[in-house]
Structure formats: structure tokens, C-alpha cells
Symmetry: C2
Subunit: 215 residues, 2 copies
């Protein structure tokens, strides 16, 4: 059975999105800067249907991460930016386009039931209303021997960490300060989380820190 893992880019002051996030600017002010190290890589570009891009240690790591993911879990807000009934959601089909970059079954945690949807390029969207553990069970079954990637956002990652559902956490630490926005670890109960460092990959412009989460 594969791992359940979560990886995310975080600023040195602990933010995964900048201040004043909106539908137009979902990563908030300065938030795009957290992902610059990734979007220029060949593996990222290929997943998004683009050619070219940089290769090297960062790219190898991202490539491995994509290759080993057999299913993805994400929150409703990460899927579409919305929270209420689907008919009221301006992005009800998500903002990931006809060929989303996941290329795996994706399980979306939501309070509002909806039929599953098959997309191009191997991505499917399944909407789970029974909570994180049910979503994880379905994702594990879909992933088979591969890993389940927790796609985010921060709240789902924290739920998984506190509930002991996560095997591995990777933080792509980016040397910028955002000064406000969404903190990865906001309100987490430290007594419920134990992290053991397993790997550090140091690149210019980003340091990748991987931890094993004790269950």
C-alpha cells in the first residue's frame, strides 16, 4: 500500500497563500512567488500540457512525486473556490480546465453531493460528502499500490495531520516573506503531531523538507 502524503510550498514566515486572496487571485498577494520554483520545471510543464522547462534535482523530485501519486484528495475550496450549493458556485466545474493537471482520480471533500465527472487525461472528480476518512478510503482503493496525494488546502492537511492520517509531509520552503494570508499550521494542536525529518533537498530558491508524520 502506498503512502498518504501532502506537499506544499510555504513562505519563510509560514504562509501558503498571501493576503487578500480572491477568486481572481486565489493565492493572494505575493502568493504566486511561492510556486515560481515549480512552474518552470519540465515535469510541471508536462503535467500542464506544456513543453520544455528546467531539469535537475527539483525536477527529479517533482517528477517522482507525480509518478507515485495514484489518487488525490482536495477540499471544495481548492476545487472551485466555492463552499455553498453547486448551482450558486461561479466555478462549479472547478478552475482546472478540461484536462486537469492531476492525471489521477481526485476525491473532493464537500457538503454538497454531486455526480462524479470524468475529465480528459486520466483525471476524474468524485465528490465525497462523508468526511475525510471516507474520502481517504476511496482514494486508497483508487490508488492501489501508489500514494494518495493530499492536494490541500491547509485545513485538510491539518485535519489529516492531527488525525494521524498522514504518512509524509513535504514543505517546499521558499525564502520570501508574505506578511499575511493563510498559515499552513494555523491553530494546529502540536500535541497531536510528531514529525521526524527524513530528507532535505537544497536548491537555489527553495529548500525541500520532508518529514515522516508519526501516527
Amino acid at each position: 500500500m502506498g503512502k498518504v502524503r501532502f506537499e506544499i510550498s510555504m513562505s519563510l514566515d509560514g504562509f501558503i497563500a498571501g493576503p487578500n486572496a480572491s477568486l481572481e487571485q486565489p493565492l493572494g498577494e505575493g502568493g504566486e512567488g511561492l510556486h515560481e520554483w515549480g512552474v518552470r520545471l519540465a515535469s510541471w510543464r508536462r503535467l500542464h500540457g506544456l513543453e520544455g522547462g528546467e531539469t535537475g534535482a527539483d525536477d527529479d523530485m517533482l517528477e517522482e512525486s507525480f509518478a507515485t501519486a495514484g489518487a488525490t484528495i482536495m477540499g471544495r475550496r481548492m476545487f472551485s473556490g466555492g463552499e455553498g450549493p453547486w448551482e450558486d458556485d461561479p466555478r462549479r466545474d472547478g478552475w482546472w480546465g478540461d484536462e486537469p493537471p492531476f492525471h489521477t482520480p481526485v476525491f473532493i471533500l464537500t457538503h454538497h453531493a454531486r455526480e462524479p465527472q470524468q475529465m480528459e487525461g486520466g483525471t476524474s472528480f468524485t465528490f465525497v460528502t462523508e468526511g475525510i476518512e471516507a474520502a481517504l478510503e476511496q482514494a486508497r482503493a483508487a490508488a492501489g499500490e501508489k500514494d494518495v496525494a493530499v492536494g490541500g488546502g491547509a485545513s485538510i492537511a491539518r485535519q489529516c495531520l492531527e488525525a494521524g492520517l498522514l504518512d509524509e509531509l513535504t514543505i517546499h520552503l521558499v525564502p520570501v516573506l508574505l506578511g499575511g494570508g493563510v498559515r499552513l499550521f494555523e491553530g494546529i494542536d502540536p500535541a497531536k503531531v510528531e514529525l521526524e525529518p527524513v530528507r532535505v533537498i537544497d536548491s537555489p530558491g527553495v529548500t525541500h523538507l520532508t518529514f515522516r508524520a508519526a501516527r
Copy 2:
């Protein structure tokens, strides 16, 4: 002329002290855990008048840091825990003992004037009431060719960063979560700070991240 530098241990969730700090527990709940990697090292122990301790990459780094520091700046609260007039401060002579671990001239930023004090082992305490730039000027003169170490706390480090007074920042990132306390970057204006990574040293239990601060 040496550098002006600041180094500090920080939790993965961005805290340099845990919640509920007090005179009895100045690092707050869980805060001692941030410094475990350091206190077991030979260089740290020697500075504190103790024998033995671990050697290796961490120790070499700390040894170099101690050896290159020619003067230290710190805030009043870091010196004694107090803020008001000296006569009301229960720790008016600081909590650093007769032979403080700095072994350099130390310049303490305070609103309350006081005569300088010579301690054992090369540490002296000079109290500066004219603000951070004046303290830095005196510290630079005292350090000569060596570095000025900004000792803390977080507020002074932020002031130095925002004012472009810092050359180098080292964060000893410790894989624990504190969930509350004093954040290193609380309230910082990101527009005033630019950090360029210069060195990563990865050890079991701590990752040392050094940045050059653009002035």
C-alpha cells in the same frame, strides 16, 4: 568590517518561543525544545563553562559563529525579562550569571539609562538608550573586524531587517510545532525585506538556513 548577523532557532510553524512565557519559563511551553540541538554541542557547553558535548557539523557551525562574533546587541527583555525602571526589575542584573555566555561586549537596548557593567569571561554590558542605530554603531566599533551578533529578541531582529541593518540571517529550523507563542516574523513588512539563500546545513533534528539580507 564584519557582518551584522542574527541567528535564532525557530519551530516549523514559525515560533521562537512557545505559549505562556513567563519569568520562570522565558521560552514558553515547549520552547526549550527549540534549543536541544544546540545545548548538547561541545561549543555551546564550553561557552557556558561546561566540558564535553557533541562535535560534528552542527558544532563546527556554532563554533564558527561564536568565534567570529566581536560584539552582541540585545533587547532589554532578553537581558532581564523586564521593561520598566531598573529598580523595579526583579532580574535587574540579567539572568546570565556572573560569567555570561557571550564573551563579548554586549549592548542592551533600553529606555532606562544605566552605568555599564564588566562581567567575568570577557562579557561587558552597556546600556544604550538612543535606539538601534546608536547601539549598532557602538557594537560595530567594539567588534572591530569581527561580526556584530544581534542576540534578539524577535522585535529587534525585525527592526534590523526592516531597516536594512542586517547582513545575514540564520534560522535553525527545528521540526517541532509549538502552536502558539512568539512568531519571529510577526507583523513584518515583506516589502522591506529581501532574502537570498546562501547556505543550508542539514543535520538530524535541525536544518540551518542562512540568508543574505539585501540592504
